[in-house]
Symmetry: none
Subunit: 223 residues, 4 copies
């Protein structure tokens, strides 16, 4: 009951999950969907149990409380990004290509993981109360990776020297995330489904353009 991470039983290290592990995974998946949709307060344990096809009692057996389950959902989903991250930030010869690739990976991760986008948004409103039980460990893991990646970008002379990396990261993140997190509101103004491949590529192109060029016609600057 102490250690909530799911261990594979000896018998079946590969592939198959024990009955208990399978149940826990079902609960986590159902809870991810519902918490992402309705937030911690708005979600009902009954609903999660029904969606997981399991008796409500088992949720308390495995996760001790609704709140705790929520934290585990965060852990599971935040970890996914970390996993993608290690892949996305691989070095390469062309620094522009390297950064474009990282942004693309991140963007499509968000496109493919609506629950993640929403969980992150709930947590922003929760003042990261629950995420803070999970993030420190993940950041410890991710930080060296990210640091190397950024240093490489600077060394290669990609970033203008007067650019504050902190602000840059906040901004890139904002450009990617907001397309998804505000979708409900923006969709009416869009020519077609914002999740259509062409629209996604369009947004990504805009982001790249925006990042690499700014909005002003070159040669016309007079700031």
């Amino acid at each position: 009951m102490k250690d909530k991470t799911i261990h594979l039983s000896n018998a079946e290290k590969v592939g198959e999950l024990s009955r208990s592990e399978e149940s826990q995974r079902r609960i986590l998946l159902a809870a991810t969907t519902i918490f992402a949709q309705k937030g911690l307060e708005g979600s009902r344990v009954d609903e999660i149990a029904a969606a997981a096809h399991i008796n409500k009692r088992m949720i308390y057996h495995y996760f001790e409380s609704k709140e705790n389950l929520y934290v585990e959902v965060l852990r599971l989903n935040y970890t996914k990004l970390y996993t993608i991250g290690s892949w996305a930030m691989q070095p390469g010869t062309d620094p522009v290509k390297v950064i474009k690739r990282a942004i693309r990976e991140y963007f499509y991760f968000l496109a493919g993981h609506d629950e993640f986008v929403r969980l992150v948004s709930w947590e922003a409103l929760n003042e990261e109360k629950y995420a803070n039980r999970v993030l420190p460990q993940l950041l410890d893991l991710a930080e060296p990776m990210l640091r190397d990646f950024l240093q490489e970008g600077q060394r290669s002379g990609l970033f203008r020297t007067n650019l504050d990396i902190r602000h840059l990261l906040v901004s890139i993140n904002a450009l990617c995330l907001s397309y998804f997190s505000r979708r409900e509101m923006l969709q009416p103004f869009w020519p077609e489904d914002m999740m259509a491949p062409s629209m996604l590529e369009e947004r990504l192109a805009h982001i790249e353009d925006f990042i690499f060029n700014g909005i002003i016609k070159h040669g016309e600057e007079k700031i």
Copy 2:
């Protein structure tokens, strides 16, 4: 009870509010604070009544339901932005200055209205369910203003011709808003209080820089 907007009674058009109007205003202010903090689900009618120093029954008298009160809170706060907006988007001779000024106004509006930032974020997660009862009217009012403003920007040759205005608006909004909406998470990485005047100016400078220049050193582009 149909029309929820507050009309001044004939007797006191100027300045003073009747007892009833005063109560309604107190409720709306208290509700703004609490809904902004905890969202619709997370807020308690009892808490709002206590904060408004009014009997809970009165909330139902004036607003009929918690949900309805929430919608009125949205209306009140969204209207504030509209009011600022008319001022921020005034034309001028220098198109760069005009747009910088608009961004600055918006940025400092957000800086000064944490409740607005949060209400907008809750609504994004609510799939704009409640905001949709309020936004159409406001957008009808705001749209011509915004359209004129953007056309002026394009006519003056400020925006690169291949720039999609929709994306541009989404991006500018994202760059401004995310600094505030993710503050809780970012603060630990910041050198000082993110709301300190110097930090706000720094962020604004970054946004302008970002918008007008992109991240790459000019002359080095090879995309």
Copy 3:
């Protein structure tokens, strides 16, 4: 909600209780009966609400939790003994009469307050966990009274000098209380209803006999 003691409202200092006070009193009376019967764990809030003819919600409104209600029940009932106590330990000329009178009062208090006997017994098993939230204040009030009473007893030469007052009190209490607290088990061995007046007098006589042939200096007996 802070102060759980029941204050009479200004309007009706004498006799009548306000609606709210009446409800609280009904809850406390019902809870006394049920907690005395079944203990904290064994009692159901639903049952108490039904017995008090009130909505369950009000119990939480007035008392915040089942546990807290239990503590207030203890306070109410323990206070009764304190009230009796001030009357029972009045001084007099004949020390033997004085002490007999005190014992008689205590004994008949127990006889008439089965709930008290049981509440005290539950608390003994609860390791006085809840009583400890109540007793300190009551003991502070009762102590000087008791101290005077005992000193008077000693000054008058009633108690043998080698008698440990602490043990004496424990013993007198045990002799009185056990008749009631073990009644269920003893009744089968008794000739008639243990609560019948004659049986009560018989027990009291035994206790006096037992005590006075124990605590009095030999040669001074005049019972």
Copy 4:
């Protein structure tokens, strides 16, 4: 499953217990501790299973229900007193010594068996509901023994003739038991740990003093 007393299997009448018997004994011991501490309602089957290092299912296998297990715990522990009793009530030449010895044995049995003290107290509050499933048989066994013992006391002229034996037994029991059952409450008023050998002897001395200055015919004392 009808007869809940534990029979030794033929194979191992002496010393060793079979696996099954060992399990049952472990359950009974764990259950004794926990039921004594928390009572029937307050104890959790899970907790007992954990304490007995056994699967919960086995408790149902051997004892059918929690309630039934509780009864068996009572049987086991009440039997202990009966066992001691036969030893404690041995006749002797000096009737005063005989009775003092019996009281001492009983007193130290209680001192050494906190679980017994508590189980007896829970049962008093349960109105002997569960004990009644166990006591009749034990009393049948114990009664002749006790009767002989008391008759011997009377024949030898130890008890004053006007003494009601029933009351006397209740009183002696109360004097011994209350020291332990009210310990939690009394301890603060005691000079040192109430279970310290010296304190126990002090209490026993008080009891004897109390009893013998009470029950013995005057003029015959020779303590």
